[in-house]
Amino acid sequence: MTRRLARAIVASMKIGWEIESNWTNVPLYILYEAVRPLSLCILLYFLYKVVSASPGADPHFFAIFIGNAFFMIFGALASGLSWAIISDREHYQIIRYVYIAPAPFVWTVIGRAVTLLAVALTSVLLTLLVGRWPLGLPISLGGVRWGLLAMSLPLGLAAACGIGLFFAGMLLITARHSLLLAEGVGGVFLLLCGVLYPTTYLPWWLRPLAWLNPLTHWVEASRRVFGVTGFDKPLGALPDWELLAILLVLTVVYLYIGWKSFLWFEHRAKRAGKIDQATNY
């Protein structure tokens, strides 16, 4: 069983890679994938110039840059997974063949997610390099807290997968909102997760939503990995172990909800005959 699942995931990763990248060569594709996150990070640099002539030397901007760089992984995963469902169902109309393959459908979706995560991590690396040299941010290998990174990154990726699964599942029963969901989900979470500003700047009624979101804690942990502390006062007050413990609990909860929701949406889609329904939209 485990071997069959592993094979399904590997096959799905390969298919995902081919679908995403075989229109060009690998270096160009990696650069292509990095253009969007890089543009947003540089956009923040120019935006920050409103209050500081030299954003590269400002620790507040450094915190925003790091938060945004890591948050981009979620953006890439959420929109990538959604696009995978849309393109398989609507454009290439192959979802029924993927669906009747021996491996459970959810595992093939997870395989696609792994490919997207790998590409997104490469983009983060490129973004950090741009932050280090052209923008002059204090990023150095010696300054990275590798232990914290090793613990927080897998949890953050798992949480992102859980949320991505939820929205990918939702797209199985949605037609006309597919594209909007694919592109808009990242924006909603960007607003909520304290990526660009401390969560205390959110209206009071939105703050609990931010604090109950694993991505908020992951972004905070990612900042600490690069030595940035005190950006978000309530989160900054937590010691590392407590932050990681909250991240772990929330990740497990979100992963569980994402998994169960996907299966539920899949069931609904089958019942309603929507699993391979091309809407021509």
Partner: protein, 273 residues
């Protein structure tokens, strides 16, 4: 042009625009999602300025930038990429086989697209004024209308030119479209004054109609907006008029050229390319 040809041309424009004007706004839930999600992203940028303690004018700058997003998204996804979707669905061959001129099809798409985007833009502005209390003050309404209309015509003629590419290409064009979102947000100064880009970059950015149009609109609508401007709105209107002319003629020529090339190479009806 004969009377019957003109009538055919106008009917084709009306038919293609109808889908967007009526169909695009028929489903309420669709409209709500389409206008709601961009407003949420825009709110994030307003909160950044608030957290930085920036003057209130920058929030107005974000709202106007956000208000122009539907037009750029419309140009990219409802104009430039439209022939890609049509090709994938098998409609492009039917369009080309019909008696209507392809330019009328493009014009209908542009007019319908502008209307569709305008609805979303108005909603963003209403949200900006009512929720974020952005202060707008229209002085020189004539010049503002001119700058806005020229921005629209230059943007959508650019979209018309880009759409012809799909007679030749498939996924490559689509991918190019995808990376023209955020880099253009950056270069057109959607969330910050474009002058922050520095002389070299801003000179390059000025070749994008959205940059000049947005800069002109901000100067004419925001209280104190002139202090953040790049060129005077009159100069920007002249540049946009020149762009409209070049892009429109370019679009018509490119359409004819690539349509012929697509037919010769068999790429016009090639799906999943």
């Amino acid at each position: 042009m004969k009377m019957s040809s003109l009538l055919l041309w106008l009917r084709a424009i009306k038919a293609r625009a109808y889908v967007r004007v009526i169909g695009g706004n028929r489903e309420l839930s669709w409209v709500i999602t389409e206008v709601g999600l961009p407003v949420i992203s825009l709110s994030a940028y307003i909160f950044i300025y608030r957290s930085l303690g920036a003057p209130r004018i920058y929030e107005g700058l974000v709202v106007l930038g956000g208000a122009m997003i539907p037009f750029w998204v419309g140009v990219l996804w409802s104009m430039a990429t439209q022939f890609y979707w049509e090709k994938e669905m098998g409609n492009l061959d039917l369009f080309m086989a019909s008696p209507m001129p392809p330019t009328a099809l493009l014009l209908g798409m542009a007019i319908g697209g502008m209307f569709m985007s305008l609805m979303r833009t108005l909603f963003v502005i209403v949200v900006g004024v009512l929720i974020f209390h952005v202060q707008l003050s229209i002085h020189q309404p004539g010049l503002l209308t001119l700058v806005f209309l020229l921005t629209m015509t230059s943007l959508f003629s650019l979209g018309m030119a880009a759409s012809s590419a799909y007679f030749m290409v498939g996924r490559v064009g689509m991918r190019l479209n995808q990376i023209l979102m955020e880099p253009i947000y950056l270069l057109s100064g959607l969330y910050f004054p474009v002058t922050h880009l520095g002389r070299i970059l801003v000179a390059f950015a000025a070749l994008i109609p959205l940059t000049l149009g947005l800069d002109g609109v901000r100067q004419l609508v925001l209280v104190g907006g002139a202090s953040l401007g790049f060129l005077s709105p009159r100069t920007e209107a002249l540049a946009l008029a020149a762009m409209t002319t070049v892009f429109t003629f370019g679009a018509v020529r490119l359409m004819r050229l690539l349509e012929q090339q697509g037919k010769q190479r068999g790429t016009m009806s090639l799906r999943w390319q």
